[in-house]
């Protein structure tokens, strides 16, 4: 029996040596780990464009303190830019650990097509990196060093991920969401819009895309309504305020259902929003703690207010943005067949969209101070 044991041990050793023959190990110090990728564009002349792709790389000093630096590649097309960026790197690059990718406004307006293909084809990149559109150039944002963070891309990744509990933000701002939403029929991409204010990186709204071009950015108020109409199972605070001191707020979770009817190529969409949640603070109703009628009245008023905001946004969408940023086209395509060459943006903007909002108050915390 031990003859076979020896045989196996020898075989393993041989195989290991064969395999590890051609490889050389790299120590951590001279390994360039990418943490954030940026995409910018400069319009040299109306016809000629220049791509600028910065990315931030971790430097592991022996002292263990993490810091990062930016290296930028410039070129006329994507391949060339990446190639110039490669040349400047003195270290071997390790992709796949990047946490964010920031796209400059100008690049986004010109279209994400070039980088989409690179992201999808390159198998080493991580699909779970968070994306954002930044005002101005992504180079500055990626280059900022924030106290307590290795690189600003760590901060931005956390920033986008942690928006989940408020302003009805969801988590669909990753590479895979971008890939899935841009080419799918009846779907449009929406990305967080970040900016540097008073030296701090903040989310200031949403960037709306048509196919792969960014057509508009919104402020936070419109972003909230857009998120509410577009996402499902998202959380946020709604407020009904009569006077500065008299208001009642409710922290809701939303449930969204869309129904779509077609009458000889005239589409009508009805969006049913069911917002259930707890009262966060109340100084409007003296007796909401025990009186059912007060609660129902508040629910009606709140529903009407949210409905008005939604309708106001829908008008803005139809006239100003002229794109189906609520992904209603997708519902119609799912019901009436796909690949019929219909431009859903145009169809949705001419269709009639009704919004029914129903606010339901579940609980009121521990008590009500105004009673």
């Amino acid at each position: 029996m031990n003859k076979k044991k020896y045989f196996i041990i020898i075989a393993v050793v041989i195989i290991y040596t064969i395999i590890s023959l051609g490889t050389e190990k790299i120590s951590l110090e001279d390994l360039g780990i990418i943490t954030g990728i940026g995409y910018d564009m400069k319009k040299v002349s109306p016809t000629e464009k220049k791509y600028i792709f910065p990315f931030s790389v971790y430097d592991f000093e022996t002292s263990g303190k993490r810091s990062s630096h930016i290296s930028v590649g410039e070129g006329r097309n994507v391949g060339e830019t990446i190639e110039t960026r490669q040349k400047q790197m003195n270290k071997t690059i390790l992709q796949g650990l990047e946490r964010t990718f920031v796209i400059g406004e100008v690049f986004a307006e010109n279209g994400l097509k070039p980088i989409l293909d690179e992201r999808a084809r390159n198998y080493q990149t991580s699909d779970m990196a968070f994306g954002a559109i930044c005002k101005g150039k992504s180079e500055e944002i990626l280059g900022m060093n924030i106290e307590g963070y290795g690189s600003s891309s760590e901060f931005i990744a956390g920033l986008i991920e942690r928006q989940q509990g408020y302003n009805f933000f969801s988590q669909n701002y990753k590479v895979i969401d971008m890939l899935v939403r841009i080419d799918a029929e009846g779907r449009n991409l929406v990305m967080p819009y970040i900016d540097v204010q008073e030296g701090k990186i903040e989310i200031v709204g949403l960037a709306i895309f048509k196919k792969d071009k960014m057509i508009a950015t919104t402020d936070l108020y419109t972003a909230k309504i857009l998120n509410l109409l577009r996402e499902d199972n998202v959380k946020g605070v709604l407020s009904y305020q009569k006077k500065p001191k008299e208001y009642t707020d409710i922290y809701v979770t939303s449930k969204r259902k869309v129904k779509c009817e077609k009458k000889q190529d005239k589409y009508t969409f009805t969006i049913d929003l069911k917002l259930t949640g707890n009262i966060a603070s109340n100084t409007l109703y003296k007796d909401i703690l025990t009186n059912l009628k007060d609660k129902e009245e508040y629910e009606k008023l709140m529903s009407k207010k949210v409905q008005d905001n939604c309708n106001e946004f829908l008008n803005k969408m139809k006239n100003e943005y002229k794109t189906d940023c609520l992904e209603l086209g997708r519902e119609a395509a799912a019901k009436y067949g796909r690949r019929k060459g219909i431009d859903w943006n145009e169809i949705v903007c001419n269709s009639e969209i009704k919004v029914n909002v129903k606010v339901i108050v579940n609980e009121q915390g521990r008590g009500d101070f105004i009673k």
């Binding site: 051609g22 999808a120 198998y123 899935v180 080419d183």
Partner: protein
Amino acid sequence: MNKAENNLLTNSEVVFIIFGSMVGVGILALPASAAATAHEDGWITAIIGSVYPLYLIGICAYFAKKFPNDNILVISQKCFGRILGTILNFILLTFFVFLCASIATNYTNIIRTFIQGFLPSYILIALIFFVCAYTSTKGLKTIGKVSVVIFFTTVIIYFSPIGALKSASLLNVRPVIKSNIKDIFQGSLKTMFSYSGIETIFFIYPCAKDKKKFIKSSLMGLFIAVIVYTWVIFISIYYLGADIAEKNYWPFLLVTESVTVSIVNNFRYIFMFLWTLTVFKIVSNNYFISKVIMQDLFKKVNFKVLCYGMVPIFIYGSLRLDGFVESGLIEEKLTNYYVIFILTFITILALITLIKEGWKR
């Protein structure tokens, strides 16, 4: 076939051998081809595609009743006479060699792109075939036991993206069967090929312990395979949407990575490890069958020498298929021809036995 009593296959082993011989490398690329042709109804094609293995199981049931103790090689020699029979068997051998080779190349391509790009492919291929040769020297019983164990370990990776059901919505899969039937039919042709590997039932029915249950357990094996295929295509289209699933070479990998990220931060390596087990199982299955055919052709050569002797043939076969782009095209054409060949070969055999039997009576 040394049919000592203890190394006959129990029912569960038969089920998992059949499942193992079919479900293998095709599963990653299957959703892409299904989505490309039948768009959002890709998962229906997987069900329709199972017609091909069902037909073969039907015939095999007929053979098992007629000639319980000798496999297809003997039957073909009986019906077509010695010379023609051996030629046909040889073509069958080339089919199995082709199967092993294509699986090995596909596997090495994926492994080299996703995990270690530094190894030259011939080392990998050599490694695979050595291991399979070693397993097939142990005989069918061990292959049966191995496939049972591997099935239970790898079933996790097929059903790991179950979490994706929560996030995406049914919109990607609707409208159901609204796209014209021609697409679906064309798609099911493609999925039919991914069921190739069912032919092993013709070789293992003599070794099954209780012959009556054989058909039932092979149907069971097929049934599990159909479920796995349908689930894989469904979840890829459900999560990515048909338009994106066809653009990616291996959509199922994309789904498993993005869904299970919350549990394990890089699920890719675990997936690859478990998936390597399935590839070893399927290659050793086919390797064993091709050894059986080879042994039938060259009666006199010793059993063990034959196993190891065939390794260079397989390595040569898979290297010829190497090179990613053209191997895709060759594979496409070859699988078509082979499937047509097998269908005709088996049906003719069945007809002849029918006529003979009718004539005899």
